[in-house]
């Protein structure tokens, strides 16, 4: 049977997460249909139609889905479910919000955050902040899955496939959108960045964080991350948090600055290709997983690094 993949998009374009989720879908095997729901979302649908391996794109052009609220989106997916044996989405804040709702409405289990496809019904997923990896087999007729995109490469582009319109479902009015404060930035997104520099509690203030981390990020063209301690203290916005309960990243280069290396932080970045740690405590646990460790005061090391780049 076929696979339904919920696109991650902002109507005007597709996020990089969709092409990575598609890789997982193709490994499961079957005709993959990508669902794009939203008002004026044709540009996102067209981008989805050009991903290599997609069979077709379903477009629901409706204002109901403007703010991707879980309730109507889950109802839409459930209305399409009879044609599919697998329904999957990236484990983004949208995927995590919507997919368990879909699974419950279909009376099936969800497999969260898969990192490897071993068979169409067998997957690996991390538990305990990635300190154990479980291999699980689904027994339900429909498999509902979220994909940890950091573990999959993006598919390439291909020839455009057809885009089919799909009817919206009736709105039940359970929730409504109030407002959104998007962090606007010219920097790359954490999820797709090649280089990430993250700051921890040691930065001490929002001003210091901006003063020493951002110039290095700019020089490197890097995305900026943070530990929970830095976010809790208001040095960095919530969507910069890397870790077990924040974003999971796997860039080519991850630079951890003034971060001790708690298991919850490591869970979000330990699959990075190269890890650099800058910390003044020689015994900081972050050094146990760093490829290159620099024992130094970050307030001296970072300006120096900025100049050396």
């Amino acid at each position: 049977m076929a696979i339904l993949l919920l696109a991650d998009h902002d109507h005007a374009g597709l996020s990089g997460q969709t092409a990575k989720t598609l890789t997982a879908a193709l490994q499961i095997g079957g005709d993959v249909h990508i669902l794009v729901a939203g008002p004026n979302a044709r540009p996102a649908a067209e981008a989805a139609a050009r991903l290599a391996g997609v069979a077709k794109v379903l477009l629901t052009d409706s204002g109901t889905f403007e703010h991707v609220l879980a309730e109507p989106l889950a109802d839409l997916i459930v209305s399409l479910a009879p044609g599919y044996d697998t329904i999957l989405a990236a484990a983004t804040s949208t995927g995590k919000n919507v997919m368990p709702r879909v699974a419950a409405l279909l009376d099936v289990a969800q497999v969260s955050d898969i990192i490897e496809v071993l068979a169409p019904d067998i997957f690996k997923r991390p538990i305990y902040a990635g300190n154990a990896i479980q291999t699980v087999q689904t027994t339900d007729a429909i498999r509902v899955i979220t994909v940890r995109t950091a573990a999959f490469a993006a598919t390439a582009g291909g020839a455009a496939v057809p885009i089919e319109p799909v009817a919206a479902v009736a709105e039940r009015g359970l929730a409504s959108f109030v407002d959104e404060t998007a962090s606007i930035s010219d920097r790359p997104e954490l999820a797709s960045a090649r280089v990430i520099i993250s700051g921890g509690r040691a930065l001490g203030s929002l001003e210091k964080f901006n003063e020493v981390i951002l110039p290095v990020a700019d020089k490197l063209g890097a995305a900026v991350g943070a530990s929970r301690a830095a976010v809790d203290a208001g040095y960095a916005p919530n969507d910069w948090q890397v870790g077990q309960t924040g974003k999971i990243v796997a860039p080519q280069l991850y630079i951890a600055v003034g971060i001790s290396g708690a298991i919850q932080h490591l869970a979000g970045m330990k699959d990075s290709k190269v890890i650099v740690a800058i910390n003044k405590d020689v015994d900081a646990p972050i050094f146990q997983i760093a490829d290159y460790g620099l024992v130094a005061d970050l307030f001296e090391a970072l300006p120096e690094l900025e100049k050396a780049l």
Partner: protein, 249 residues
């Protein structure tokens, strides 16, 4: 209004877990157990709503082994009014938990159910959303701010691109994120008082819920371990190594 807060007994967040060498699971013998941190935040939020006069009663519920009574007592010591233990020694998946909670919601008629966004053992991040779906309610997940108004609750959510505020019709399900509040510690007198607070015991069968697993766990293994690399002596050496040895600059 009544607020229902489900809480889970999990391995303490400070414990470095060990995977059993035979691949059968994680070793939980003699390991410190605590309330799932996100659930502490959920209890705290419910108590604050009660203290602000917006709720009359906070009921906590746990589905798990007899020892989950300790977790419930912790919630009672924080200030919850009464507790329900749905006792089972089986591992119960999020879908079955949601079905049992639905039964409790039908019996208790709360106006709000506040849950942690994820349990730090299985890291599933499913139960709240599943419960909302089964009840036909709206959901405000990953909450960093909750404001109750007439018939509605405004929930500010931590999302990948920043913050989103939604207004959810009551009754509703909320799941907590880290920034919602800082949970209180229970004082010694309150811990003593909690021992006498009502705690009702039931079983999954009382709710007519089959808890048989839908996912077969074939194996549990250690992740690939990274090994520590080298220490560099200076920023110049670091930049040089990143350029020539690692090839990432």
């Amino acid at each position: 209004m009544k607020i229902l807060v489900p809480v889970k007994r999990v391995v303490d967040f400070n414990v470095k877990i060990r995977v059993k060498p035979d691949g059968s699971g994680v070793d939980l013998q003699n390991v410190k157990m605590s309330m799932n941190p996100f659930d502490e935040i959920a209890v705290e939020e419910a108590l604050r709503l009660k203290e602000a006069g917006k709720a009359e009663e906070v009921v906590v519920v746990s589905i798990g082994p007899a020892k989950a009574e300790e977790t419930l007592r912790t919630a009672l010591a924080m200030g919850a009014d009464r507790a329900i233990l749905v006792e089972t020694d089986d591992a119960v998946e999020p879908l079955a938990i949601a079905k049992i909670l639905k039964g409790i919601v039908e019996a208790e008629s709360p106006g709000l159910v506040i849950l942690g966004k994820q349990a730090i053992d299985d890291d599933s991040n499913q139960t709240g959303q599943m419960l909302a779906a089964l009840l036909g309610w709206g959901q405000g997940t990953f909450a960093s701010k909750v404001e109750l108004a007439d018939g509605q609750v405004a929930v500010t959510r931590e999302i990948d691109g920043g913050l989103q505020t939604v207004s959810v019709r009551l009754p509703a399900v909320i799941t907590t994120d880290l920034r919602l509040n800082e949970p209180r510690y229970a004082s010694l007198p309150n811990i003593m008082k909690a021992k006498k607070k009502p705690l009702e015991k039931t079983t999954p069968a009382d709710f007519g819920v089959a808890i048989a697993a839908r996912l077969r766990i074939l194996k549990t293994e250690e992740p690939v371990r990274r090994i520590a690399g080298v220490k560099v002596g200076s920023v110049a050496e670091l930049v040089d190594k990143l350029k020539t040895e690692a090839g990432v600059l």
